[in-house]
């Protein structure tokens, strides 16, 4: 009895803390204060996570390349982000003389604001959601779509050909991959019957024989998750889809002309977008804050959410350490000729899954459809030498 109570307290510790802090204020201020407190907590938490991730990314990438990575500032180089932060804060803020100063200033601000807005609807633990919107997923995608405009503003206002090219690439890429991103999430919405992210997590927080009902453990969920992962990598401009800032041809893409704190904001925006979109993927396919086994539910829900989030970040870093950058035409062909059709087939599979009722038949039918589509499309693509192994004309 006492143990359940303790684990319950641990689970809800942030909620209890918030209620305790707010209780000092007069009653009329309490609702506003609790919202402000949550917002401040989210911003501080993810900014801190951003700082930690930068150093872990550098160290992880180094290990994948058999190097050591940053280890000079503080123990094991853990204070490296502080040094980086001081550097970017003290740097001169340069605005090109021909740049459009107002738009140039607004772009990073808009990017960071829209990126942080996405966290408003993400459930980070049991009862830990800022606003439980009925159309939460739609809100998330609406905010995600607005970041494209910030990227365009940054590229256009810099009056630099590299910035503009990078921005155009980024916007084209983000629009192209937004379609599979939305379609892979639509499958989840179809099964759950709700756009509310808390409802989606609750639907997955059930156990059969100690195993969770996460959507990734279903055929359509697994295919959807793979498509979602590909689309998010492109959406956050991460390697191997980091063409918008391909340093070998575009200097730094749309933030070429940004320095100092504004550049740090872009950097922050990129990482926070990665966290938020990983958090959404966790919520949609990996059961959000639910525990992976029924006997592990005593561990607080927010620990599960953040460990899944960091695992996704590790996969992002892992992919960055492995895969080379794609070419623009490969990127577009991949989106429109492979990922999008696969997402449509996946929608079909999800619909069949929904209407075939329980039993083993739906597993067989859905898996067959998806595997056949994957194998067929993959074979066709490789035959056309679009996605197959490369032939080198001059090397070797």
């Amino acid at each position: 009895m006492f143990e359940t109570h303790l684990s319950e307290t641990c689970d809800q510790i942030f909620i209890l803390l918030q209620h305790w802090l707010v209780s000092f204020l007069p009653a009329s201020w309490q609702s506003a204060a609790s919202v402000l407190l949550s917002v401040a907590a989210i911003i501080c938490l993810f900014a801190a996570l951003f700082a930690l991730t930068t150093v872990f990314e550098r160290k992880g990438l180094a290990r994948m390349q058999n190097r050591i990575g940053p280890n000079r500032v503080g123990p094991f180089g853990l204070f490296q982000p502080i040094a980086d932060g001081i550097k970017s804060l003290t740097k001169e803020d340069i605005v090109p003389s021909s740049a459009d100063a107002v738009v140039h200033f607004l772009a990073p601000v808009l990017l960071v604001v829209t990126v942080f807005m996405g966290f408003a609807v993400l459930p980070m633990g049991r009862n830990m959601v800022l606003v439980d919107l009925d159309a939460g997923l739609l809100f998330y995608f609406a905010m995600g779509a607005s970041t494209e405009l910030a990227v365009f503003m940054a590229g256009w206002s810099s009056r630099n050909k590299y910035s503009l090219l990078g921005a155009m690439r980024a916007v084209a890429q983000m629009i192209s991959y937004e379609v599979p991103l939305l379609l892979s999430s639509v499958a989840v919405v179809m099964i759950t019957g709700s756009l509310s992210l808390t409802k989606i997590v609750e639907a997955q927080n059930q156990y059969t024989w100690g195993l969770p009902h996460w959507y990734i453990f279903t055929p359509w969920g697994f295919a959807g998750f793979v498509m979602y992962a590909i689309a998010t990598t492109a959406e956050t401009n991460r390697s191997p889809f980091d063409l918008p800032e391909g340093e070998s041809e575009l200097v730094a893409g749309y933030h070429t002309e940004y320095s100092g704190f504004k550049f740090a904001l872009f950097f922050l925006g990129e990482y926070v977008a990665m966290f938020s979109i990983s958090g959404l993927g966790t919520t949609l396919f990996l059961g959000g804050w639910s525990a992976p086994c029924s006997f592990l539910t005593w561990i607080p829900s927010w620990i599960w959410f953040f460990s899944k989030l960091m695992l996704s970040i590790f996969v992002f870093i892992w992919m960055r350490g492995t895969l080379p950058r794609l070419r623009q035409d490969q990127l577009m062909n991949f989106a429109w000729k492979f990922v999008l059709p696969m997402c449509l087939v996946n929608l079909l599979a999800a619909g069949l899954w929904r209407f075939m009722g329980d039993g083993w038949l739906r597993w067989v039918v859905c898996s067959t459809i998806l595997i056949a589509a994957y194998a067929g499309m993959g074979f066709a693509e490789m035959r056309r030498q679009r996605l197959g192994p490369r032939s080198y004309r001059y090397a070797e």
């Binding site: 994948m64 058999n66 190097r67 050591i68 892992w318 895969l323 499309m377 993959g378 074979f379």
Partner: protein, 198 residues
Amino acid sequence: MLGEGILKGMAVTAKNFFLSFVSAERLTTIQYPEQRIAPFEAARVFPFLVFDGADWESGMRCVACQICEKECPPKCIFIEKSTDKKPDFVGKPQFYPARFDIDISVCMSCQICVEVCPFEAIKMDTEFELSTDDRFGGLLLDRKQLAKSNDYYHEIHPTEASAVDARLAAEKVKADAKAKAAVSAATAKTAAIAGEGA
């Protein structure tokens, strides 16, 4: 199968990631200021002036012939000839550089000065930690800073230095023999003159 290569590549990086924590020999990094690798024998950075013996001023091999100054492509060498002479390693009186400056902010480490020097006086150094906070004065090395002993030369380029020493020794032997011959000839001559006179 589509996507097979991606999985293979991911496996390679994952192996690197985990094994780099286990086996230290996988790590290629040298922690530079604390750990160093010995410089290669053929490494060359900027020129220095070789001197023999203990005193750098009297033992300097340079005779201020100014060939290196003329040949230097970026013109980073400044030589001022002395007015008096001092004996070189064979004992022959030679000019010496009253001033010998190399501006290493201009030098491009081409080694042409070393190639053209007939006196084996200028050689390439392996010292590379030359950064200074005074970029005008600090990078203009005078002859005192440039002078390094022959022992130091042996230390950094042992093979090359031995070859140079052997050649110089052979030259010295030849010069000594010539001098001796000249001396004996002179004595013979004087003797003959004396004999004639007698």
